[in-house]
Each structure stands twice: as structure tokens, then as C-alpha cells.
């Protein structure tokens, strides 16, 4: 059942991505001063929002895990962090590529860039610790704390442009994009969020299967110990 839903979600995501590419390259006009490189904007902004969503999902699930100890919440948290990191990585790579053309430099020390980098580094640490820390309770708890710390940075990233300015344009709230660009951005957001949802659900499914493997492994070890105990017990009774 889950597999069917995932398949449909994947089909929907693929169609949405194709539509978004069509809207971005076939419908939205080329920007006058920056040229074609501005087309990075549509997936850059959408990916940033998808990354925030992944990090918030990770944080919410981590808090739930810390409160209730539910392993399923831990699986959801890990899925949110991994997919969030994926989209955040794209944001951190596509941003400098766009900036090279738009600002004449790959990177500046403006608040939004630095705070996004900080959030990304915190969640990179989360993913690395999860990978090398093994399936232990202490690793899960440390990573839950990291997720909460990382999410505290997100509102600062969001409001950095409004409070401290910097080079990032404020085109969305000021009506600074044309109607065709608005349409392309909306379709791109739909595509990126459907892709995000598919990847998160897929990762949750893999995580649940890994949890099942761990449970069965414990069960098999316990059964093996039972057999060993039965084999030894007659010897202990009649040495």
C-alpha cells in the first residue's frame, strides 16, 4: 500500500518537475540585466524553503523522540535532516553560481549567506554523527539536540534580509517579479515540494525497514542464546 502511494507520489513529482522546467525555460522571460542565469532563482528559492521544511520536520520529530522515545519519530527526524541537507547543499552551490554573475563575486559575508552556512553545517554534523555514531541511544539524543540547535538558526536566516539587508534581492514581497515569473516560481515550488515529499517518504520507508532488521537481529540473538542455554543446562545439572 505504502509502495503504491510512493509510486504515485514519484510519478506526480516527476510530472511536476517536468512542468516546472517547462515553465522556467519555456514560459518565464529572461531577466534583462542578469540574463539567463536568473533562471537559477526558481529552484534556488524553492529548494531553500524545502530545506527549511526538512529541518523543521527533523526538529519536530526530534523533540517528539526526546519526549516519548518513539523510534519512528527518530526515523522521521533522520529523513527530514537528510533531505533538508540535500536541498540546502543545492542552495549553497547554486547561490554562488548565480552570485558570480549577478554580484560579480562567488561569496560575500552577508548575513543570510553566513547564517545559511551555519544552519547547513549544523545539519551536516547531524548527518555525519548519525552515519558514524551507530544506532545507539546516545547518538540519537545528541543528534536530536543538534536538530533543535540548527532550527533555532532558521528564523534568523529568514529575517536576515529584512533586518540587516545585504545583497539578496527582496523581489517576492515587493512585487518585483513579472506575472510569468510568478507562475514559473509557483510551479517550481510545487515541483520541489513534491520531490521533497517523495524523498522524505522514501527515506522513512528505508529507515523503518532498517529498524525492523535491528528488531529481528535482537530477536535472533535472543533465540540463539535460548538454544545455547538449553544446551548447557543439562551439563550444569549433571556435570
Amino acid at each position: 500500500m505504502m509502495s503504491d502511494k510512493l509510486s504515485w507520489m514519484a510519478v506526480f513529482a516527476s510530472l511536476a518537475v517536468l512542468s516546472a522546467l517547462g515553465a522556467v525555460f519555456g514560459y518565464a522571460p529572461v531577466e534583462a540585466s542578469m540574463g539567463i542565469v536568473q533562471k537559477i532563482f526558481y529552484f534556488h528559492v524553492s529548494s531553500a524553503l524545502a530545506a527549511y521544511t526538512g529541518f523543521f520536520l527533523c526538529c519536530g520529530a526530534s523533540i517528539y523522540y526526546l519526549l516519548k522515545g518513539d523510534r519512528r519519530a527518530d526515523v522521521v527526524a533522520r529523513a527530514g535532516a537528510e533531505v533538508g541537507v540535500l536541498f540546502c547543499t543545492f542552495v549553497l552551490i547554486s547561490g554562488p553560481l548565480w552570485a558570480r554573475k549577478a554580484w560579480g563575486t562567488w561569496w560575500t559575508g552577508e548575513p543570510r549567506l553566513m547564517l545559511t552556512m551555519v544552519a547547513a553545517l549544523i545539519f551536516y554534523a547531524y548527518v555525519v554523527v548519525r552515519s558514524i555514531g551507530g544506532r545507539t541511544e546516545i547518538t540519537r539524543r545528541i543528534c536530536a539536540a543538534l536538530a533543535i540547535l540548527g532550527v533555532a538558526d532558521i528564523p534568523l536566516v529568514h529575517f536576515a534580509v529584512q533586518k540587516w539587508r545585504g545583497n539578496h534581492p527582496r523581489v517576492l514581497r515587493n512585487g518585483g517579479i513579472s506575472d510569468e515569473m510568478e507562475v514559473a516560481l509557483t510551479v517550481a515550488m510545487l515541483a520541489v515540494f513534491s520531490l521533497f515529499t517523495t524523498l522524505v517518504l522514501l527515506r522513512i520507508r528505508v529507515g523503518m525497514a532498517e529498524e525492523k532488521v535491528e528488531r529481528l537481529h535482537r530477536l535472533a540473538t535472543a533465540r540463539g542464546n535460548d538454544i545455547e542455554d538449553r544446551r548447557r543446562s543439562p551439563l550444569l545439572e549433571n556435570p
Binding site: 542578469m34 521544511t53 520536520l57 518585483g176 524523498l199 528505508v206 535460548d226
Partner: protein, 109 residues
């Protein structure tokens, strides 16, 4: 768990609504009339049809690289997930067989 997923969906919807351009602001204007009022000074200005856009830095290459990175990241992650799925399935099969053996030995006494 469903609550968590609902919470994530709500965050996603809020993020989109937060960032989605306020279409109502420009709804009264003709779709292609990009007046000075409609587009702020720091907004994106569409090039007029046939207008040559100055391009000293290879913007096309930068854009292609960005999109290439996105699809490489997504493809790489999907490949990694498929490998993990296959490995997990192998582990599940092996563990199932081991448990069957152990259960049979337990029954034999």
C-alpha cells in the same frame, strides 16, 4: 507520527504562502505591463522581445552547472537509497531464514 507529518505539511504550506508572491498586488494590471510601479527598482525586469542581453560572464554555463548539481544530488541520493533498500532487503531475508532455523532447533529441543 501522523501529527508530525501534518506539522511538516503545515510548515511547508506556511513557507510557500510566506514566499509566494502576492499576486493580488499586481492583479489589476495587465499581465505583461511591467510599469515602474509594478516592478520595484531592485526587482527582476524581463527583457523586451528581441532585446540583446549583455553577457560578459557565461551565465548559461553557470545556470547549467546549477541545474546539473541539483539533478546530480537528487540522483545520487536516490541511488544511495536504492542501495540501502537492497541491503536492508538482503538482511531481512537472511534474518528471516536464521530465525526459521533457530525456531526449528528450539522445537527439536
Amino acid at each position: 507520527m501522523k501529527r508530525l507529518l501534518c506539522l511538516a505539511a503545515a510548515v511547508a504550506v506556511l513557507s510557500v504562502s510566506e514566499a509566494a508572491p502576492a499576486a493580488a498586488e499586481g492583479s489589476g494590471a495587465a499581465p505583461t505591463a511591467y510599469s515602474a510601479d509594478r516592478l520595484s527598482k531592485e526587482g527582476f525586469v524581463p527583457a523586451a522581445p528581441g532585446q540583446a542581453v549583455e553577457d560578459s560572464v557565461p551565465g548559461g554555463l553557470l545556470m547549467l552547472t546549477a541545474y546539473g548539481v541539483l539533478w546530480t544530488l537528487v540522483g545520487g541520493y536516490l541511488w544511495r537509497l536504492s542501495r540501502r533498500t537492497a541491503a536492508t532487503q538482503r538482511d531481512l531475508d537472511a534474518l528471516g531464514q536464521r530465525l526459521d532455523d533457530l525456531n526449528a532447533r528450539l522445537k527439536q529441543g
